[in-house]
Symmetry: C2
Subunit: 341 residues, 2 copies
DNA sequence: CGAATGCATGAAACCGGTTCCATAGACCCA
DNA sequence: TGGGTCTATGGAACCGGTTTCATGCATTCG
């Protein structure tokens, strides 16, 4: 009743096959050119028999690489994030990397801790959907030549690859569409902008668009904070204004969209009868409910980010690239055309 | 212009502090009792100055642990999965473990590969949301005393901890509710059951309940496969039957729910006017659309699974446990009471 | 006052791989 | 037949930590 508790090592395989560790190592690294057929077969058998699996840990120690890619996301509950994960995961799997997924939960402190942890695990590269406020730790990573790819959001002072979208353009497109549909009073609801470049870009684009068009009193930026009543209060105020004849609400991402939709429902306002609704992100349920969205292919963003990283790991030393996925307007029932007033 | 490319090692710290590796190691492992104050301070400073971070890799090699927990999920795009991830991540973070997230995409081959990969990374434990068909690889893990916690689904022949729900009971509860509301013709739509215990249990519970109640011709089990038209065809057939006066559709998870809702919309059937709708899982949008669901706290499942694993890693050698989260019926507009016919 | 004990520290082996260098035998050529 | 090349293999050092064991000095005790 011998329990084989200890997992087999390369030495066990070598012993069983009657060869040296070196030879087994050669077998494992596909340098089989100088291995005789007989030896090859013996090693093969020994590995089979022992269920041997080489230890990435030991391997990485010498080779100074782990085949681990860290991905640090700001909110794992967000469907946008999930889609990114799926894209990144697919690419990594294809290139025999594994993904170490961490969730900073929008907390810069947690983010910083995670960057440390990831470093301690010798990640070969990092995909970062940042909270925005951790340059210093990141610089340590950079010094060690660990490539970093930024996702969706900038980090001040970091000149590295970035995969995102043209937020200003996407915002303009959406607003143009709303104006064409006849809306002349638009509220923009965003999560706290803090250090998050994407959110700031969108808000700024919104404000400058509205100002350019001289659509007065129509832009309101609201930050959802701790106070539960803040959102209903804001929405009520907006809905009760009588300075415009066609109102629309534009939400900054899918999480906010959900909040707004829920709040409107509770307040008794109906979409699109009382107000139009449009949002960034395109969660799968938007189709069912019939909400017009600005869809950015999150899956593709994940793919692009991972591919960029893999390219860097493969030796690409070119200048930092900025890759933008295109956004498309998914027109649905929540933004019908209204007659001009 | 000295570029500090190589990341500092314990030897660098030792040199800078003017002490031996051993002493630094003691410092790192919190065995500071026998370190003089002066030495302590010198080491502290050296670590600060060098931005030193010990390598988990080197550490794990000797210690035979990685502080890595693998979590292998069947479908990372499913909100149910995401909620689990969040729960598991929170617990792991609290206990200074990192999560290696892999997505088998419901593919047993991919699952098998991932288990291998995870093993090669020396994971300390595995949380497995399985496709159901990989006992053999798992047994290798078990032999090496790597604890495994099953999530939601059984693996035949594995006697390990499991976190899930009482599927039969939850199914009965939901059906009882439907019957009380007056529905006498119910269709159950499930994803392919294959080797997935949860799905099988639910289908079986459904069938036995319907048979017990002698509600004839009212149960239809449908497996969504490749054929795109299969679902609309099935729904049309069901809707056109005239043997019952109040129909309801029961979907096996949120992904299927989405498909069914979309298909019904396209076919022109309205919920709940033409047919009631109820589903397992409780995606956040169910609240907006107003769909009655059987909600199982996925977040809690993630927490429980991770806690179980951490307990095992802490030395708990008790018998395998089965933990069930409770499910609650979220009553919404999609299942209104109907008058008896 | 010599021996025992406690404190603070270091040398070296070890974990499981990879890799550099050495070497033995076969083969080839002059 | 001796020296050079090629093939197949092994010994040993190394990666960056941890751990065991040893040791030198102070202090304490019989």
């Amino acid at each position: 009743m011998r329990e084989s508790q200890r997992r087999p090592t390369i030495a066990d395989v070598a012993r069983k096959a009657g060869v040296s560790k070196t030879t087994v190592s050669r077998f494992l690294s596909d340098q089989a050119e100088y291995i005789s057929e007989e030896t090859y077969r013996k090693i093969e058998q020994a590995i089979q028999a022992l269920h041997y699996e080489p230890s990435q840990m030991a391997r990485g120690l010498k080779a100074k690489q782990s085949r681990l890619i860290g991905i640090l996301v700001a909110d794992i509950a967000n469907p946008f994030t999930t889609a990114i994960l799926r894209g990144a995961e697919d690419v990594c799997h294809r290139h025999h990397y594994s993904l170490l997924v961490c969730n900073s939960d929008n907390d810069p402190i947690k983010e910083q801790n995670y960057i440390r942890t990831l470093r301690s695990h010798h990640i070969d590269g990092l995909i970062l959907h940042t909270t925005g406020a951790n340059q210093s730790v990141l610089l340590a990573l950079q010094k060690e030549k660990t490539p970093v790819v930024l996702l969706d959001r900038e980090v001040a002072g970091m000149h590295v690859d970035l995969v995102g979208m043209d937020n200003a353009q996407a915002t303009y497109d959406a607003l143009n569409y709303l104006v064409c549909q006849g809306y002349n009073s638009i509220a923009y609801v965003t999560a706290p902008t803090a250090d998050i470049s994407t959110r700031m870009e969108r808000v700024q684009a919104f404000q400058s668009f509205m100002a350019d068009r001289k659509l007065q009193h129509t832009s309101i930026v609201f930050q959802i904070e701790g106070k539960a009543s803040a959102l209903p209060d804001f929405l009520t105020t907006f809905m009760e204004r009588e300075d415009a004849h066609a109102k629309a609400i534009f939400t900054g991402n899918a999480v906010i969209l959900l909040q707004v939709a829920l709040a409107m429902q509770q307040l008794g306002y109906r979409v699109p009868d009382d107000v139009a609704l449009i949002s960034f992100d395109d969660p799968d349920w938007a189709q069912i409910v019939g909400i017009t969205t600005v869809s950015q292919s999150a899956y593709e963003m994940g793919v692009l980010a991972a591919e960029r990283l893999v390219a860097r790991l493969g030796g690409d030393a070119g200048d930092p690239q900025r890759l933008y996925v295109t956004s498309t307007l998914q027109e649905r029932d929540s933004t019908p055309k209204v007659a001009k007033g």
